[in-house]
């Protein structure tokens, strides 16, 4: 990447750095919330689950702070070109990260509803899936911090793995439910968890697409991405 010069008005750089710091912190918290929610789910740890639910408030507060700072910076500094693109991307990225936080909270809330799930074999698979999703979120936010368009493209390509995981878990759980009707409630909850993880992967892709726009000024071309949304819907349809 080209060397980025400082702004003549130093306070502008300070605003931008503060904005980046806030987004980093918010992303870190969302990633952590996901990992903690999954740990709580696998261990039935209600205290940890409650901590995730509580921690989501801080993520929401950070979103509000970034929005306010972005609006203020646009009004006072009239950013142009890559600065302007960064402001727009910041607004969109925090709303996506906030969604990721909500999904983590949603997973955490299910922990209390799933006392009998210990024996469902899909949980370890969900743990593997969540590890990949957390890595995608992490890399998407790293690509933002480093202004790395290549990394952003790789994130969107890797989202395909998450979709594959989802399709596979979907089939497994549907089969499991047919064979073990008394586990239907728990299995349904796990289906939602899988869906939440799949959505988080999509959101990591959204972040990556915005990073690509900030860095290059162009929208990411379809061919540069991995296959996206419709795969999972097709799988659901196949299962009837």
């Amino acid at each position: 990447m080209a060397v980025v010069n400082d702004h003549t008005v130093k306070a502008f750089d300070e605003d931008i750095n503060r904005l980046r710091g806030l987004i980093s912190e918010m992303g870190g918290r969302a990633e952590q919330a996901l990992l903690q929610a999954m740990t709580a789910l696998s261990k039935g740890d209600l205290a940890l689950a409650a901590q995730v639910v509580e921690g989501d408030k801080k993520i929401d507060a950070l979103e509000a702070e970034v929005e306010q700072l972005t609006v203020q910076t646009i009004a006072l500094r009239a950013p142009m070109a890559d600065d302007l693109r960064e402001m727009i991307a910041a607004l969109k990225i925090v709303s996506v990260v906030e969604r990721i936080g909500d999904y983590a909270k949603n997973i955490a809330k299910r922990v209390a509803l799933m006392d009998q799930t210990r024996s469902i074999e899909s949980i370890p698979v969900l743990m593997s899936m969540s590890a990949i999703v957390a890595e995608l979120i992490h890399d998407a936010l790293d690509s933002f911090a480093a202004r790395d368009a290549d990394l952003a493209v790789r994130v969107t390509v890797r989202d395909k793995n998450v979709d594959d995981f989802y399709n596979s878990i979907f089939r497994t759980l549907v089969t499991f439910m047919m064979e073990n009707p008394k586990y239907i409630t728990e299995s349904a909850h796990l289906l939602f968890v899988a869906k939440n993880l799949e959505r988080m992967g999509d959101h990591a892709t959204n972040i990556a697409e915005m990073v690509y726009y900030v860095v290059t000024g162009e929208r990411m071309e379809e061919r540069e991405r991995g296959e996206t949304p419709e795969d999972s819907a097709t799988a659901e349809k196949e299962q009837g």
Partner: protein, 260 residues
Amino acid sequence: MTNDDLIIADPKMRAEGVNVFYGDKQAIKDVSIDVGTDLVTAFIGPSGCGKSTFLRSLNRMNDTVASARVTGRIELDGEDIYAPSMDVVQLRARVGMVFQKPNPFPKSIYDNVAYGSRIHGLAANKADLDVIVERALTRAGLWDEVKDRLGESGTALSGGQQQRLCIARAIAVDPEVILMDEPCSALDPIATAKIEELIHELRGKYAIVIVTHNMQQAARVSQRTAFFHLGTLVEYGKTTDIFTNPKQERTKDYITGRYG
């Protein structure tokens, strides 16, 4: 975006390989650019980058500077404006100019606007001239403010009104191109907004080229933007592209306030 989008099919003015020298010093280096009839073109760049010099070469205002020398070719409707056969007075009627500081003549508002038409013999009689003056002042958005005091001195108007009077004076002779050199830099934000609205109104009637230090203004009023730096044309493009996604590092550094 492809370069095809930028091609102007029938340019009003065309500059090719233009160099401008002040004595030994080269102020403009090999600049080529087309000015479209229906477009507002903004020239931006740091002080001393040559944008005003280049603007002034478009109606030979640099002729008045003894040491100035222009090479290359500048055309108006395909005609070389530096050809010996070109009538400079006629050229400046066709390519009018508005300056940074409003400079009304120390004459009445009416005479300021009528002046050009009188010397170019555009009006057959007083009634004709009245029509020309009213139309120019109306187009310049000044008529309602001055119609009852056309006999008062132009210099008695406010700065913003004076600048619109100068624009009225420029358009009274029915030019084809209007060059504006920082037309709002001496005006308050309201007067500036009126000039910008006026530029918007005048677009399509005249080809307009505006030099401005105010990048928000360039972004607001123009469809094409040219960025000058150290006498060269660094980047020319659609205004929206220049301000959201400039291709050149120097352009980006300048418009984002990193130029140092």
